[in-house]
């Protein structure tokens, strides 16, 4: 340890290095602090959470915040169940739809391919807000408003994801596919044994974006549902803000940790995969 510190200060240009390291640490703290604040507040008692000046570290650790979240009269588990259901369904649906679409755009020839891909790109460019009303009306026609479906179906294909996956498929040399054909592999095998493993990083990245986007969705479920029983966790958190007079910060933060921790876990797991994915260098 002492040796490491000694070595640090004899390396050439250690002054600049130190400055750059300090800046990095400060930036890191700036990013971490909100998470830290959320976590510790969730474990504070009600009075401590309201105290001025605020305490950086809880004097008393308590689960009061979590208890009051679950006792707030809101069926937190049902909200959580909805969020998990919606998110899983969206990711599954996206993979089923986007993988073949991207593959076809990248590696197959079919009539009007350019035009179809153009349409996908246009979908990518249209602001989401413009689609709210037409999608709502369509869902109403189908009698699906106020169910889980309008929170899943419209997210089933994502233009950005198709675009990104297509780029990723395109980078795979045709010879590898031809070689697989000569190795008697069918389309499904080529896809599952060769193409998808080679595009793992793109897949994980897209799935992660979808996961975060869907998990955190607030406005879309708000518009598409009226009934609490089909709403996701984000709506419950919002609801906690106005259950009682004034905001119970510890309880709100407890709910927020419930919302955020799965994302953090997924991110930590996925970022490892992404690095793994990128570490694979294109082969000659």
């Amino acid at each position: 340890m002492i040796k490491a510190i000694k070595n640090y200060f004899v390396q050439p240009g250690w002054g600049l290095q130190l400055l750059s390291d300090i800046i990095k640490i400060l930036l890191m703290l700036a990013f971490i602090f909100p998470f830290y604040w959320m976590l510790v507040t969730a474990f504070k008692g009600y009075t401590e959470s309201m105290a001025v000046p605020p305490t950086l570290f809880p004097k008393v650790w308590t689960l009061e915040g979590y208890r009051s979240t679950f006792n707030s009269g809101l069926n937190i588990l049902n909200y959580a169940k909805n969020t998990v259901l919606i998110t899983t369904a969206v990711i599954a649906l996206q993979l089923v739809i986007m993988v073949p679409a991207a593959y076809a755009f990248a590696k197959r020839e079919f009539p009007l391919k350019g035009l179809w891909f153009g349409i996908v790109l246009v979908a990518f460019m249209i602001p989401l807000q413009l689609t709210y009303i037409p999608v709502y009306l369509r869902m109403q026609d189908l009698n699906l408003v106020n169910t889980l479906w309008p929170q899943i179906l419209p997210m089933g294909a994502d233009a950005f994801g198709i675009f990104m996956l297509r780029q990723s498929f395109k980078q795979i040399p045709d010879e590898i596919i031809e070689s697989a054909k000569l190795d008697s592999a069918g389309e499904i095998q080529i896809m599952t044994r060769i193409m998808l493993p080679m595009c793992k990083s793109a897949m994980v990245t897209i799935a992660m974006f979808s996961f975060i986007g869907t998990w955190n969705a607030y406005f879309w479920p708000l518009v598409m549902t009226r009934n609490e029983s089909v709403r996701p966790l984000t709506m419950a958190v919002e609801k906690l803000r106005d259950v009682e007079m004034g905001i119970r910060w510890n309880s709100l933060m407890a709910a927020n940790t419930l919302l955020v921790v799965p994302i953090l876990i997924v991110f930590i797991f996925a970022s490892k995969k992404i690095i793994e994915g990128f570490a694979y260098r294109g082969m000659k």
Partner: protein
């Protein structure tokens, strides 16, 4: 074992015709090399045999059976690609095993064959590695093992050595020749490198602009070029070609030319020349010589034969049997004759 026959085969990409009306027989059990400059259609032919770039007209027969429209997996072939086309996410073993698994070869048989062919290509210690950990030469060996393990009746190779460095390429060339002799399988090998073609082939198929210029053994192509293209494609440096009258031309290989300060007897070609450059290549010397009429020739000579200085004025000479004559269309008329043409070559007869 398989013989491949092309019958009036054509291929076009959109409106561009790459190959038209091509007839070719690739003999069973022989090492056939398709050689030509890039864009000559050699790879297109190979892809037709593989079934990954079907012919647009004509028929392709394998052992008499029409395979023109048969999908690749139904053909008894294996192919090695220029970039090897190794599956990067699979281990060496999985790469070699993939084709066998798809063909539902039983596990014990698969393991036996993998062990056998990994040994042949010297990859046994690397079976559980990922291709990204291996060198270009090793990846090349995986590609070879992956092709061999299927025991195909035809091996197709698309410039498999062109990504290797010169030393490794020379070594792999010898290994491939050995391999072909050992397996006795039909090999069809595509390259743009005439040295590869000459050194490996039983039969060379020389192509240009989608047409076959000449088919023959390396000896035939070197000694009896069918036309000027063929004469100039094979050999380094290419054959020197000079004009005679009436559009008739004659050629002489750089290594057939003699140079000396003294005029030698018994030659058919005599010219005066001035040595512009002299390159020492080891066992050989290579010269660029300007003739008195301004034309330049390349000359190649063993060290201990004709060694002349740079800027020297010399006699440039060649015996009759090494002179090749071509008609106005570039077709080979003969070498060492006919007599009337030979007389015209003569040049300076002092």
């Amino acid at each position: 074992m398989a013989e491949i026959v092309f019958e009036k085969v054509g291929k076009s990409f959109g409106s561009t015709k790459v190959i038209e009306n091509l007839d070719l027989t690739i003999e069973d059990g022989k090492f056939t090399v398709l050689v030509g400059s890039s864009g000559c259609g050699k790879t297109t032919l190979l892809r037709m045999i593989a079934g990954i770039g079907p012919a647009t007209s004509g028929r392709i027969l394998m052992d008499g059976k029409d395979i023109t429209h048969q999908p690749p997996e139904k053909r008894d072939i294996a192919m090695v690609f220029q970039n090897y086309a190794i599956y990067p996410t699979m281990s060496v073993r999985e790469n070699i095993e993939f084709g066998l698994k798809n063909k539902k070869v039983p596990k014990e048989e698969r393991d036996r064959r993998i062990a056998e062919y990994a040994e042949i290509v010297g990859m046994t210690p690397y079976l559980d590695r990922k291709p990204s950990d291996l060198s270009g030469g090793q990846r090349q060996r995986i590609a070879l093992a992956r092709a061999m393990v299927k025991k195909p009746s035809v091996f197709l190779m698309d410039e498999p050595l062109s990504n290797l460095d010169a030393k490794l390429r020379a070594a792999m060339r010898v290994e491939l020749i050995e391999l072909q002799r050992r397996l006795g399988t039909t090999f069809v090998y595509v390259t743009h490198d005439q040295i590869e073609a000459m050194s490996m082939a039983d039969t060379i198929v020389l192509m240009e602009k989608g047409q076959i210029q000449q088919i023959g053994s390396p000896e035939e192509i070197y000694h009896e070029p069918a036309n000027i293209f063929s004469a100039q494609f094979i050999g380094t440096p290419p054959m020197n070609v000079l004009d005679l009258d009436g559009g008739v031309r004659f050629g002489v290989r750089p290594e057939s030319i003699r140079m000396s300060a003294e005029r030698m007897d018994g030659m058919a070609l005599y010219r005066r020349g001035h040595v512009i450059t002299r390159e020492m290549l080891g066992a050989e010397l290579q010269y660029k010589v300007r003739l008195s009429d301004g034309k330049t020739l390349m000359v190649r000579s063993e060290n201990d034969r004709d060694d002349v200085e740079e800027s020297a004025d010399v006699w440039v000479m060649a015996p009759a049997r090494h002179l090749h004559f071509f008609d106005a269309d570039g077709r080979h008329i003969g070498h060492g004759g006919p007599e009337d043409l030979l007389k015209k070559v003569g040049g300076i007869n002092e």
